[in-house]
C-alpha cells in the first residue's frame, strides 16, 4: 500500500518518459554519478597496472595489460588475513555498541522529557568540536592508566592498562556523539501520538523504544550502522598507537606498508585499497535496501 503511495510522487512515469525535463535531469544525474565513480574506477584500474605502465606519460587510464598478480603480491606484503579479521571484529563491535547505546540515548534525548536533557544534548554536540589530534594523547593516557587492567593497581599505576588489548580497540571508539545526534533527529521526526498511546497502555520506556519507535527508523539504523562500520574500518592512527603487536593490527595499518617516506607502491596500494573497499560497497548495497518507507501507518488514525 505505502509503496503505491511513493509512486504518486513520481506520477505516472510512462506518460513522462519522453519529457525533455526528465531527460535533462537524467543526464545531470548520470554525469554527477560518473564524476563520483571516477576515483573508484581509477583505484581499480591502477591496481592492475604493471610498473612500466604506471610511469607512462601522459598517464594512461585503461590498463594495457591486466596484471592481476598485483593482488597476490600485495596480499603477501603483510599479514592481511589477520588484519582483515581484526578490522572486521572491531568494526562489528563498534557498530553493535553504537546501535544499542547510541539509539537508546538518541531516543531518550528526543522523546523523554527529563531535566538537563538539553544540556546533555548540547554536551554531546560540543564533544564533536575538538580535533582528534589534541584528544588523542589524553585518550591514550586513559587507556594506559586504566585501573586494575594490564598489571595496573587501583590507581592505574604500574602496568600497561588496556594497551595491547581488545578493550582499547573496541571501547574508546565504540560510540560517537555523531550517532547519538543522528538517532535523536530521527526519533524526533516521528509523530508523538505513538508514545502517548503506548504510555497510556502502560508500556515502559524501554519497550516503547525497542518495540514501537525503533522499528520505524530502520533507514536510520541502516545509515548509522553503515557509517559507523565504515568509520572504524578506516581507522588507522588509534589502532596503531594502542597496540604494539602485529596480531592486533588492522587493515589500514597494513596498507600503510605501501606508502613510505619517499616512495609509494601505487599498484599494490590500490590493490589493497580495492580489497578493503569492496566490503564497504557490499555493505552499502545491503544497507540501502532498508531505505524504504519506514513510516507505516501503524498506530495512527
Amino acid at each position: 500500500m505505502s509503496a503505491a503511495m511513493t509512486q504518486t510522487t513520481a506520477a505516472s512515469p510512462v506518460k513522462r518518459r519522453f519529457d525533455g525535463k526528465r531527460i535533462a535531469l537524467t543526464c545531470v544525474l548520470a554525469f554527477g554519478a560518473f564524476t563520483m565513480i571516477v576515483p573508484f574506477l581509477w583505484m581499480i584500474l591502477t591496481s592492475v597496472k604493471g610498473p612500466g605502465e604506471l610511469i607512462e606519460f601522459p598517464p594512461t587510464f585503461w590498463p594495457k595489460e591486466w596484471a592481476w598478480s598485483n593482488y597476490a603480491e600485495a596480499l603477501d606484503a603483510a599479514p592481511f588475513a589477520t588484519y582483515f579479521r581484526n578490522s572486521f571484529i572491531i568494526a562489528t563491535g563498534h557498530t553493535i555498541i553504537t546501535l544499542i547505546f547510541g539509539a537508546m540515548a538518541g531516543y531518550a534525548l528526543a522523546r523523554i522529557p527529563f531535566r538537563g536533557r538539553e544540556l546533555v544534548f548540547l554536551g554531546f554536540i560540543a564533544m564533536l568540536m575538538i580535533p582528534t589530534y589534541t584528544k588523542i594523547v589524553p585518550q591514550f593516557l586513559i587507556v594506559k592508566f586504566m585501573p586494575l587492567f594490564g598489571g595496573n593497581d587501583i590507581l592505574g599505576q604500574g602496568g600497561s592498562g588496556w594497551l595491547n588489548t581488545w578493550w582499547a580497540l573496541l571501547i574508546p571508539g565504540g560510540l560517537s556523539p555523531f550517532a547519538i545526534f543522528l538517532f535523536r533527529q530521527f526519533y524526533l521526526s516521528l509523530p508523538r501520538e505513538l508514545e502517548e498511546a503506548a504510555r497510556i497502555d502502560g508500556l515502559g520506556e524501554f519497550r516503547i523504544w525497542g518495540q514501537v519507535y525503533t522499528p520505524l527508523i530502520k533507514p536510520a539504523l541502516a545509515t548509522v550502522a553503515l557509517l559507523t562500520f565504515q568509520d572504524s574500518w578506516n581507522n588507522f592512527l588509534w589502532p596503531l598507537l594502542v597496540t604494539t603487536r602485529d596480531d592486533l593490527r588492522v587493515i589500514q595499518v597494513g596498507l600503510a606498508v605501501f606508502r613510505q617516506e619517499e616512495t609509494t607502491q601505487w599498484a599494490y596500494l590500490m590493490a589493497g585499497s580495492t580489497l578493503a573497499t569492496i566490503p564497504m560497497v557490499l555493505l552499502f548495497l545491503v544497507a540501502q535496501r532498508y531505505f524504504i518507507q519506514g513510516f507505516t501507518n501503524a498506530g495512527i488514525k
Binding site: 610498473p51 604506471l54 610511469i55 599505576q157 594497551l163 596503531l240 606498508v257 606508502r259
Partner: protein, 434 residues
C-alpha cells in the same frame, strides 16, 4: 543542588585530568632514575619501536634472519618489535613518552636526537660503553654527529637518505653535453639548454627539476653548495639567512623565473612518478632510492642516470637518516645497548638498507655487493665526507616545518629571498628562545 553536583563533577574531572598528566610525568622521571644492574650476564625483555623493517618482508628479515643471530650471542634476551611507518613515528613516540611506557630501543630520524636527548629521554650511550671514538673508524665524522648531542653519543646511524643531483645522460648527450654540470654556472647553462617548451610555451621537459623533492631538503642542498649552514657552529643562531643562504634561494628563484627551467605546478612531492623516469625532466635534485623505482618501472634507463654533486663554492649534498637509540628509562640498558650495536652492525644495517634502497651509514659497506650494484647508493657512499645534515638544535623539529612555506613564498614571488629567510630566521629565533 544540581549546580553543586555539576561543580563537584567538574572539579573531579579537572583532578582526573591533572593526575593523568602528573602521573605521566611522574612516571617518566621515576623510570629514568632507574639504572640497570646487569653486571655480568646481559638479559631482559626488550621492546623495539621501528619505522624500518616494514611489511611482511621486513619482519621476516628482522625476526627470522637477524634476531636469531642476536639471540645466539645473548640467549637471555628476548625482543618484541613494534612496527610503525615513518608518517606515524612522531605520534608513536609522543604517546609512548607521555605515558612513560617508552620502548627500550627506538629508531628515529636525523634532527630528532637533539630534542629527545635534551629532554632526557635517551640514554647516553657513552655510559653504556659505546663512544664516538669507538665508532670513528666505522663512520665518517659528520654522519656520527647526527647522533651526538653536546659531545655525548645518543644514537648510532643505520641508514641514510641522501639527496644530490641526478641527470639523464642520454638527454645531456642530445644537447651536446658529455658530463653532468660541475658548477652552478654550468648547471644553469645546461638546465636552460635542456628545457623544452611547445609552441604555446607549455613546458614539456624541465631542464632542472626542483619541485619533486621536499622543498626544504632541496633548498638545503643549495644552501650547502653555497657554503652556507643552517645554524652557527655553536648552534645558538640561525644562519640560513646569511648572504650564502640568500644567494642559494635567489639562485633557485632565478632558475624558476629568469631562466624558466621549470614552472610552478609542473611537479610536486605528491607525484607518482619521478619526472626523470618519464623524460619530463633532464636533471633534478633526487633521492638515492630513485634507483628502486627505476629498476621496477624503467630498467632500460639503468645506464642513463648519472649522479652528480651540486657544486658551488663547495660540493653540496644532503643526508637524513634513521638512527637507533636506547631509552633512558630502559630496565635493561646493557641489553638494549647490545641490541643497538647489533642493529647498527654491518649485517643488520646492510639488510635494512637493501630493503629500502638506502645508503648504509657504515663506511665498510661501500664494498658490499648491494652498494656496488646500485650506482646511486654507491655514489652517495663515495661522497659521504661532503654530505651535511639538518638539525643541530633541539628546536629543529619545531623550526623545520616553517621552511617549506617560506621557500614557496620566495619561489612564488610573494617575498624576496632575503625577506622570506629573514622572517623564517625570526621564527627560528623565537622558537630557540622559548
Amino acid at each position: 543542588m544540581t549546580s553543586w553536583t555539576r561543580r563537584g563533577a567538574a572539579a573531579l574531572l579537572a583532578a582526573a585530568t591533572t593526575s593523568l598528566v602528573l602521573a605521566a610525568c611522574g612516571d617518566d622521571s621515576e623510570t629514568s632514575s632507574e639504572n640497570g644492574s646487569g653486571d655480568g650476564q646481559v638479559s631482559g625483555e626488550l621492546t623495539v619501536l621501528t619505522p624500518i623493517f616494514e611489511g611482511a618482508e621486513g619482519k621476516a628479515l628482522l625476526e627470522e634472519e637477524l634476531l636469531p643471530q642476536f639471540y645466539e650471542q645473548y640467549p637471555d634476551v628476548t625482543v618484541t618489535v613494534d612496527y610503525t611507518d615513518y608518517g606515524s613515528l612522531n605520534e608513536k613516540l609522543t604517546t609512548a613518552v607521555a605515558s612513560g611506557l617508552v620502548p627500550d630501543v627506538m629508531m628515529m630520524g636525523v634532527g630528532w636526537i637533539e630534542a629527545f636527548a635534551e629532554n632526557g629521554i635517551l640514554a647516553d650511550l657513552g655510559e653504556l660503553g659505546i663512544t664516538v671514538d669507538d665508532l670513528s673508524e666505522d663512520f665518517t665524522p659528520e654522519i656520527l654527529a647526527g647522533g651526538v648531542w653536546q659531545d655525548d653519543l645518543y644514537a648510532i646511524p643505520i641508514m641514510l637518505d641522501t639527496r644530490f643531483g641526478i641527470a639523464r645522460k642520454d638527454l645531456l648527450a642530445e644537447a651536446g653535453f658529455d658530463e653532468p654540470p660541475s658548477s652552478l654556472e654550468e648547471l644553469r647553462e645546461y638546465a636552460i639548454a635542456l628545457t623544452e617548451r611547445d609552441s604555446g610555451g607549455q613546458l614539456q621537459r624541465a631542464g632542472f627539476d626542483m619541485l619533486s623533492m621536499d622543498l626544504r631538503q632541496m633548498y638545503e642542498v643549495f644552501l650547502f653548495a653555497h657554503g652556507g649552514s643552517l645554524f652557527s657552529e655553536d648552534f645558538t643562531e640561525p644562519t640560513f639567512n646569511s648572504p650564502e643562504g640568500v644567494a642559494a634561494l635567489q639562485y633557485l628563484v632565478d632558475l624558476m623565473h629568469e631562466d624558466r627551467v621549470e614552472d610552478i605546478g609542473f611537479s610536486s612531492t605528491d607525484i607518482d612518478v619521478h619526472p626523470l623516469l618519464n623524460d619530463r625532466a633532464a636533471m633534478a635534485v633526487g633521492h638515492n632510492n630513485l634507483w628502486i623505482q627505476l629498476q621496477e618501472a624503467a630498467p632500460e634507463l639503468a645506464d642513463q642516470l648519472v649522479p652528480f654533486t651540486i657544486t658551488g663554492s663547495e660540493p653540496g649534498m644532503f643526508f637524513g637518516g634513521t638512527l637507533a637509540t636506547v631509552s633512558a628509562g630502559s630496565d635493561h640498558p646493557e641489553a638494549a645497548a647490545a641490541l643497538v650495536e647489533f642493529l647498527t652492525g654491518p649485517e643488520a644495517a646492510l639488510g635494512a638498507n637493501e630493503q629500502r634502497g638506502n645508503v648504509p651509514a657504515r663506511t665498510e659497506l661501500l664494498d658490499s655487493e648491494y652498494v656496488q650494484n646500485n650506482p646511486l647508493v654507491q655514489f652517495a657512499m663515495e661522497n659521504l665526507e661532503i654530505a651535511q645534515r639538518e638539525g643541530g638544535v633541539p628546536q629543529w623539529l619545531e623550526i623545520r616545518g616553517d621552511f617549506t612555506p617560506a621557500i614557496e613564498a620566495a619561489l612564488l614571488g610573494e617575498k624576496t629571498p632575503q625577506q622570506a629567510l629573514d622572517d623564517l630566521a625570526g621564527e627560528a629565533r623565537e622558537a630557540m628562545a622559548r
